[in-house]
């Protein structure tokens, strides 16, 4: 009897189990978690894209709850696109920005997320107060600098030696070199923005005053702009450099340019392959006039900076990514000195421990550090629109479409309005 009851109980339990799976009395619910998606944007070349994508992959592996969508392109067009995104409030959660953009998009400090509010996620102790001050606006930490940057004179020592010319130290040396090179090779070449820095440095040394104050106040007069325009035309006409419109980066390693003015942070990508063509590049002194000190008229600025969107829906996740991009061993290993020598103590320590602080880019970094008094660039100085105006006026004078006086007056009026605008 007892056994019979047990068997009945067993059968009843089995039947209950079987029918419970197909009875459909309650809807089956399976919950799942969708990763938080944040966006990251940067500009750069192929090498940068490759290591950044690898870094993002590693970050996603470390944080499977976060998915990072990347927006990246080369520099050309990046700012225009960023401008549209910033104005439409659709910018990336984390973004690589230019130093000048803080002033442009966040004059009151509210254009970007105040990163001080996320100091429990972002390790700000890796940066000095002075370094962080580059990203401060009206008491709010809008961005964190990755590295310092300055225009650097890179000289193809091999070519200079071929023509029997010493590494230039003065402005006049470049003109002497152009004579020796007889139009076969340009002593130096550069794109539009470096050219603006080049002729400004010259003009500052000649005039003995700063072009612009930190707050955007222009010290130069129309007459001073004349010096800049005339100097550019002289550089072109005497074959010191090609017109900026015809500057071709590929010619750096072909032997057509014996020198290049470029950002410190471009050192590795511009000249990394020079040795393959038998060329030795060195970092030269900043050119001077007879009366000037080396370094006068030249400026330093944060190379690039990371900022966060003020509209981000996921500040904590974005901050985790930002901290990773600034301070992690992974990014230090992958990035190396590609964006310049990192300001992050943790990043720099990793590079030092792994003997990664070397090469022409590191030489440029040391050269920059030789000049304690290298002025900090005003954010207004680097305005792309103004640089374009200057280039336009240079061509107008170069092709004698207008007088240097009228173009200098025009430039003075345009630049003087910068601060007001």
């Amino acid at each position: 009897m007892k056994h019979k009851k047990s068997v009945i109980m067993l059968l009843a339990t089995a039947a209950a189990l079987m029918f419970s799976s197909c009875a459909g009395s309650s809807a089956p619910v399976t919950t799942f978690t969708t990763p938080v998606e944040i966006t990251l944007s940067w500009w750069g070349n192929d090498a940068r894209h490759e290591y950044m994508l690898e870094a993002v992959d590693r970050f996603e592996d470390m944080h499977p709850e976060i998915s990072v969508k990347c927006r990246y392109t080369e520099w050309s067009g990046y700012q225009t696109r960023s401008d549209v995104l910033m104005r439409s409030g659709t910018e990336s959660d984390v973004m690589l920005i230019n130093y000048a953009w803080i002033e442009q998009y966040s004059p009151d400090g509210d254009g970007y997320y105040d990163l001080n509010q996320l100091s429990d996620v972002i390790d700000l102790t890796n940066f000095s107060e002075y370094e962080l001050s580059y990203g401060m606006k009206k008491g709010k930490l809008n961005a964190i600098p990755i590295a310092m940057n300055t225009q650097t004179v890179y000289i193809n020592k091999t070519l200079y030696q071929q023509y029997g010319v010493d590494i230039p130290k003065t402005w006049d040396d470049f003109f002497e070199a152009a004579k020796a090179m007889k139009g076969e090779v340009y002593p130096i070449a550069m794109a539009a923005k470096p050219m603006f820095f080049f002729v400004t440095a010259y003009a500052e040394q000649v005039c003995g005053k700063k072009f612009m104050e930190q707050d955007g106040t222009v010290n130069f007069t129309a007459e001073d702009f004349e010096i800049m325009l005339e100097f550019y035309c002289r550089l072109i006409n005497e074959n010191v450099m090609p017109q900026v419109e015809y500057f071709d980066r590929n010619e750096i390693n072909s032997g057509k340019y014996a020198g290049t003015l470029a950002w410190l942070s471009d050192g590795s990508s511009y000249f990394g392959k020079a040795a393959q063509n038998g060329y030795e590049y060195v970092v030269a002194d900043y050119p001077v006039t007879d009366s000037a000190q080396c370094g006068d008229g030249w400026y330093a600025k944060p190379a690039t900076m990371y900022a966060m969107s003020r509209n981000t829906s996921h500040p904590e996740e974005a901050a985790m990514l930002l901290d990773y991009l600034l301070n992690s061993e992974e990014i230090a290993q992958l990035q190396g000195v590609e964006k310049g020598i990192p300001l992050s103590k943790a990043g720099r320590q990793y590079l030092s421990d792994n003997n990664m602080l070397s090469g022409i880019q590191y030489e440029a970094y040391e050269k920059m550090n030789e000049f304690d008094e290298l002025s900090v660039l005003s954010p207004y100085f680097e305005n792309d629109d103004l640089v374009e105006e200057f280039r336009y006026c240079c061509n107008t004078v170069l092709y004698e479409k207008n007088t240097v006086e009228s173009q200098a007056e025009y430039l003075y009026s345009v630049f003087s309005k910068v601060k007001k605008n």
Binding site: H3, N45, T73, G77, T80, R81, E245, R249, N395
Partner: protein
């Protein structure tokens, strides 16, 4: 019987399991196949849509006369005008491509001059052959355009080229890695690989690491050869292929063993359930068999017991007793010595008459108990009929005097059986008379031994009961032996 039943049940379970296996296999393959096909179609549509969008943006250069009519020259009539025009064209091109991830969006002129957004990577890759080689990528006659990947084995960018005028082509490009978004899928099928290949089976994009730029492995390319839209499944691969663009193919593949891995997991559970069911069936079988067979064996055992035992006293019945003792004597060695004691209850009839047969039976049963206590397991005990009992046992080997030993046993037995039966106010003295014979001294077989013991019993009875005699010593008479 048990084995047969279990075998049938297990066979049925195996049959059902095999049917479920096959059905699972079919359903799984069909399900994964249709999922992969749907995924592939979705990928193809994504890719076509992506390429269409980029082409559409490219055609916008025809919205500006300045852009589509301009031809750069190494020696322009007016360099300043040329630079100004190129500035305008550049602005126009930037405004067209601003919201897409174009790496290049520029005009390339027959003198290799470029205007617009041109990347350093492209410049470096094409060098002085930029116009010539981009022109060669135009392979669609009607629209004068074409797509290309893998120029000089570089698969980082995918180019779209469109002729704008006799001396100018539009060049646009995007990073191949952008296709990750195009080919992103929810991942319902484990280990599925998604690839985009060109007409020569060069891999333009792959969801696997480090495969872009290499040639599609033969295992897959052989299977999709000549197919433009198909699903192929064999023992090694499930592959779906779809043509996209002009001659590129989207290929989704998953090793069959990966699909079967899922099936194997299901099969493992089926086997587990089958084994569990077999064990349960076997146990139920054992349980049921026991339920059926136990009563029968109990009955057989009872009947056997009834055939050999006296039910009242639980001693051997006469037949069994005789058989056992006969066998024992038959097999006895020459040195073996046995004794048979035969006894009956004195005046048993009087007990029955005065107290009834129930009382008689009670006394008989008690005699059985006493005998078992007296002899334990060392003797064969039997009820030979009515009130006649017998004990047969082997004598110890080194007795000083066998007869004295037997007499002592007989005396002890008579003493143990001497009792008074009480019922109400009446009582009845119970005693036994016994006779004993020895093997081989008095007899050589059961019959002789029994006869001799019976003879001695007779003497005991005749001499006044409640006594015992050994065969051969009957003449002494009297009650001296009790």
């Amino acid at each position: 019987m048990t084995f047969g039943y279990t075998a049938v049940v297990v066979a049925v379970i195996i049959l059902i399991a095999a049917l479920v296996f096959n059905r699972t296999d079919e359903i799984l393959k069909s399900k994964v196949s249709s999922m992969t096909s749907a995924l592939n179609v979705q990928m193809k549509m994504n890719m076509d849509s992506y390429l269409d969008r980029l082409e559409s943006i490219g055609t916008l250069v025809f919205s500006s006369k300045e852009v589509y009519e301009y031809s750069a020259s190494d020696d322009p009539d007016d360099s300043y005008d040329a630079i100004s025009t190129e500035d305008d064209i550049s602005d126009e091109l930037y405004s067209l491509c601003i919201m897409e991830n174009f790496v290049d969006f520029c005009m390339v002129y027959s003198n290799n001059h470029t205007v617009g957004k041109i990347s350093n990577g492209t410049n470096e890759l094409f060098g002085s052959k930029i116009y010539e080689d981009f022109s060669a990528m135009i392979n669609r006659a009607g629209t004068n355009d074409g797509w290309s990947a893998g120029y000089n084995n570089n698969f980082k960018r995918i180019y779209y080229v469109k002729r704008v005028n006799d001396n100018a082509i539009l060049v646009t490009s995007f990073y191949t890695s952008e296709l990750e978004d195009v080919f992103k899928h929810p991942g319902g099928i484990e280990d599925i690989s998604v690839r985009l290949v060109d007409s020569n089976n060069n891999i333009i994009y792959s969801s696997l690491d480090n495969e872009t730029g290499s040639l599609l492995e033969n295992d897959i390319s052989d299977r999709i050869q000549g197919q433009s839209s198909a699903t192929i499944m064999d023992d090694d691969y499930l592959i779906t292929v779809n043509l996209c663009g002009d001659d590129w193919k989207v290929i989704c593949s998953v090793p069959t063993e990966i699909i079967l891995k899922e099936k194997n997991e299901v099969q493992f559970y089926i086997i587990l359930v089958a084994v569990a069911l077999s064990v349960v069936a076997f146990l139920i079988n054992i349980l049921v068999s026991n339920k059926i067979s136990n009563p029968v064996s109990d009955m057989v055992e009872l009947l056997a017991k009834k055939a050999t035992m006296d039910q009242l006293t639980q001693l051997l019945n006469k037949k069994s007793y005789e058989e056992i003792v006969s066998d024992t004597l038959h097999n006895a060695h020459t040195s073996d010595k046995y004794c048979m004691i035969l006894f009956d209850i004195d005046n048993f009839k009087g007990l029955n008459d005065n107290f009834g047969h129930a009382a008689g039976d009670k006394v008989l049963a008690e005699v059985g108990n006493v005998m078992r206590k007296q002899f334990k397991a060392s003797a064969y005990l039997g009820r030979l009929g009515g009130d006649e009992f017998s004990a047969f046992f082997e004598l110890p080997k080194r007795l000083a005097d066998d007869k004295e030993y037997v007499k002592a046993r007989c005396a002890k037995l008579c003493e143990a059986l001497r009792t008074t039966y009480n019922s109400g106010d009446k009582s009845y003295n119970v005693s036994v008379s016994a006779g004993a014979s020895l093997f081989p001294e008095n007899a050589g077989d059961f019959q002789e031994l029994y006869t001799r013991a019976d003879s001695a019993l007779y003497i005991s009875k005749r001499n006044g009961k409640d006594s015992f005699r050994l065969f051969g010593e009957e003449s002494e008479g009297g009650k001296n032996e009790t």
